[in-house]
């Protein structure tokens, strides 16, 4: 991508191709124009963990879901992932991932962990575990 950019910047007035032209499908198209997750109104934290629900209906059969929804479920199928990792893995903006996850949550395809509430820390035992874990790295 950076190569494309370097190439075109030298030829001012040249046409935009590929990455330079921006995404073929605009973010708002993937979300059907929505900027916030559905009626449940959850705001997914960047480190909220998303896993595939074992008893989930097959998302491939649901015509209301787009390819980006399926891409997210495929990523979760490999391992439980944070919202930030999903966004990086699917190469989608975080805002788009949040809306799509809202859909998947409502359909019961995924489960999402609640982030630690603000101003509250995990107990001492966890912190000790983290310190020991870091030392052992």
């Amino acid at each position: 991508m950076s190569e494309d950019r370097a190439g075109t910047s030298e030829q001012l007035g040249s046409q935009w191709y590929d990455h330079e032209a921006g995404p073929l499908v605009r973010p708002y198209a993937m979300t059907g124009g929505r900027t916030k997750p559905g009626p449940t109104g959850v705001r997914f934290d960047l480190i909220a963990l998303v896993s595939l629900d074992a008893g989930a209906p097959d998302v491939g059969d649901d015509s209301s879901l787009g390819p980006e929804h399926l891409a997210l479920t495929e990523l979760c199928r490999v391992e439980t992932q944070s919202v930030a990792e999903l966004a990086a893995g699917a190469d989608l903006p975080v805002g788009v991932v949040r809306v799509l996850l809202g859909d998947l949550l409502e359909l019961g395809c995924v489960t999402v962990s609640r982030p630690v509430p603000p101003a509250q820390l995990p107990d001492e035992r966890i912190l000790r575990e983290v310190i020991e874990g870091l030392r052992a790295l």
Partner: protein
């Protein structure tokens, strides 16, 4: 929906993710530090933002909305199955301060990276975390060629609250980065205990 709680889902709900922010001025080594300690290659997430047009792209005084992309680098350290640490490099530019509010929600603490050749670059980050009472350590990234300073000197220059740890580090070095994180988690634990005692008395 009928919810059947199998052992697997119980294990998932018990999964815990902790968040640590890495802040500091532009080019101080935030992404380098994240990369040095992360078990995954630092990933990049993007946030699309709509904001009022800045004066630089002023089109005849029309208040235009433009879309900007902010990138945040992040890494992960798995402590054990079900317990992981996520590190987020905060966006360096001042105009993305509002993103910090989201990032700092529920954060365990923060590392403020400092370069002694331009210490003033980390003032905003120090202010931010002090005001919000988010535990942080100052990690002085010892660049080659920079005059070495002691932790006390840096602490005085930054006018830090008493007890805020200052650690000298090399952001490229994994062990050095680990040490910074350990100091932060220890400090966050102490701050938390102190606050609990405060609230009781």
């Amino acid at each position: 929906m009928v919810s059947e709680h199998s052992d697997a889902t119980n294990a998932e709900t018990a999964a815990l993710a902790l968040k640590i922010l890495v802040a500091g001025g532009f080019g101080v080594g935030k992404t380098t530090l994240v990369g040095a300690v992360s078990e995954i290659r630092p990933l990049r997430t993007e946030e699309l933002l709509s904001e009022a047009g800045q004066s630089v792209d002023d089109t005849d005084g029309v208040d235009e909305k433009v879309t900007t992309t902010v990138a945040m680098d992040f890494g992960r350290i798995t402590i054990r199955s079900g317990l992981s640490l996520y590190l987020f490099g905060t966006p360096g530019q001042d105009r993305f301060w509002f993103l910090w509010d989201e990032l700092s929600q529920g954060a365990l603490g923060a590392v403020v990276l400092a370069d002694t050749r331009r210490l003033e670059d980390c003032f905003p980050a120090v202010d931010y975390f002090e005001h919000r009472r988010i535990p942080f350590v100052v990690a002085v990234n010892c660049f080659v060629g920079a005059r070495p300073y002691g932790g006390d000197e840096v602490s005085r220059a930054l006018d830090l609250d008493r007890g805020t740890p200052v650690v000298l580090c090399d952001a490229r070095d994994r062990d050095s980065g680990k040490e910074v994180l350990i100091r932060l988690v220890e400090y966050a634990g102490r701050m938390h205990t102190a606050r609990l005692l405060d609230s009781v008395s």
